[in-house]
Amino acid sequence: MPQRMLAGLSVLVAILAAAPWWMPPWMLFIASGALAKGMAALGLMLLLRGGLVSFGHALYFGIGAYAAGLLVLSGITEFVVLAVLGTLATLVLALILGTFVSRYRGIFFGLLSMALSMVFYGLLIKLQSLGSSDGFNLGGIHLLSIPMQGTAGQVPTYLMTLVLSVLAAIGIDKFLRSRYGLLTKALRDNELRVEYLGQSVRQLVLLNYIIAAGLAGLAGVLSAVAVGHIGPEMAYWTTSGEFVFMVILGGLGHVAAAFIGAGVLSAVQAVAYAVAPNSWQFIVGASLLACIVFLPEGLWSLLKRVGRRA
């Protein structure tokens, strides 16, 4: 990685790590949410790099959140357990669904993933035991003896989310630089040749699909902890749309791009809610269009250009 890029990112991480000392609590809250969603977007970015657009990524986000929710309901409030089991649940489900879903491409893959997320949503909406459309609150979550909810828990939760996000970013970055990353790139380019060189395309797709799902699941757990509430909207198609938008906004160029996309979108949403609550969708939609037309490689490409000139 070029020196300047590494330096820039390190500075960014340092600033984010110092956030509890300079961000007001409401901003810290948004930042936690943005980081968690960025992790989900990171997973989606991996899929996109392999040439697959999912319009149902929120399925795994919701599964992670509700897995954590169910555990809390049954009395388990230790964060490590929630995170591990929540992520595991998504990985297992992704393995099962992925074996079927990995055969599809293009718009069919997109719609199939959307359908699956809506199946989950439809289930959640009707289940009275889980609060149906209202969802339910999660309380009392802690990491060992450190609280992760309420006012005392805000900082620990934020820092945990940041740490896990950075680790996820580093992990996926390593993955993309490994042979799997190159194979994924090749996959997007010419599947036929990959198959004829002796590599099962389906296996590759499944691998990426499972990793992407796991990231979304962990993100769901983190989101549930940070917000203290889960609801079916976490699995709704508009949430999937948000993740897609984050990836488009950030670009596919680097693992940090997913988080930048998430950060920018969250910031825009926060500002728009406050300033023009009935226009934020307009702003998001217009930005998405602008991105597709003028900045198809996302903000990351812009940052690279700026960095090179500086």
Partner: protein
């Protein structure tokens, strides 16, 4: 027995509504190969346009029963205004992009339109109950059915038959079918694809608007009413086969009856069963039950 009748009637009425809502979506996909998410927003605009037009009619002292005229007119009005704007300004310049990119573009347009509705009509809900209440209700067994709903059934039939006739018997219809089948060959034979796309897209918008307009009297008209509808429309279109009108009909019937059965027999399943069928069809027969579209698998 009355339960079976209830399921049959509920299913038919819901299927009619689904068909009205979904047919424009499948037509646009069939001809232009675009998955138009904005269809859900055009539906919403249609509902609001109906509210305005019917409101103006009533305020202008129009005949009570004549209110169905502005109700239906909302469709072509929206189609002729919104259709060309969206197609020319946004879709034509990006025509060569991938399917998934175009779908994202239509998603962006959906968001923009949803808030545009708020700018024009505000955020408070509207009610347009006169057309719904006017014909009264009819008693079947021990349940009362609003006559209006049967009117929707008739409307769906008219639209379906009209479209089918247009595509198979009329000259323009046959050109449109040629484009659905193979755009390049149609172009080589002299079809003006630009104009056809504009016309078909506008027509698709009008159909979406019609769906919204006819739904308006039965619900509270709010800016977000299209959000749930668009995914339902996707389900119907996918199940029946993307691009196929008959498919939209079959999909609507299947979803309509499955949902009616769920509502009466297993209410918890009402929503997810539709998407379960959608997912199953995609997995087992990706081209749908009746399709001209091809599945891409490896």
């Amino acid at each position: 027995m009355s339960e079976a009748v209830a399921i049959f009637l509920d299913g038919s009425i819901y299927a009619a509504w689904l068909f009205l809502v979904a047919v424009g979506l499948t037509l646009v996909y069939g001809v232009m190969k675009i998955v138009n998410v904005a269809h859900g927003a055009t539906y919403t605009v249609g509902a609001y346009a109906a509210v305005s037009l019917c409101g103006a009619w009533a305020a202008g002292g129009g005949n009570e029963w004549g209110i169905y005229l502005p109700l239906v007119l909302a469709a072509p009005v929206v189609g002729l205004i919104l259709g060309p704007i969206l197609e020319r300004l946004f879709l034509r310049p990006l025509r060569d992009e991938e399917e998934t990119v175009l779908m994202l573009v239509t998603y962006a347009l959906f968001l923009i339109l949803e808030d545009s509705v708020k700018f024009i009509w505000g955020v408070d809900p509207y009610f347009l109950s006169e057309p719904y209440l006017l014909p009264g209700g009819i008693d079947i067994f021990d349940l009362t059915y609003p006559v209006y709903n049967f009117g929707m059934l008739i409307a769906a039939t008219v639209v379906g038959v009209g479209l089918a006739w247009f595509l198979s018997k009329s000259k323009s219809g046959r050109i449109v079918r040629a484009v659905i089948h193979d755009r390049e060959v149609a172009m080589a034979m002299g079809a003006n694809v630009d104009r056809i796309y504009l016309a078909v897209f506008s027509f698709g918008c009008a159909l979406a608007a019609l769906g919204g307009a006819l739904t308006a009297p039965t619900v509270s008209v709010i800016p977000s009413m299209g959000v749930e509808v668009i995914v339902l429309a996707f389900a119907v279109v996918v199940i029946g086969g993307m691009g196929s009108i008959i498919g939209a009909l079959l999909g609507a019937l299947l979803v309509g009856f499955v949902r009616a059965m769920a509502v009466h027999l297993l209410p918890e399943a009402e929503l997810f069963i539709i998407y379960l069928v959608m997912a199953t069809v995609l997995l087992v027969r990706p081209s749908g039950l009746f399709a001209p579209a091809e599945a891409r698998k490896i």
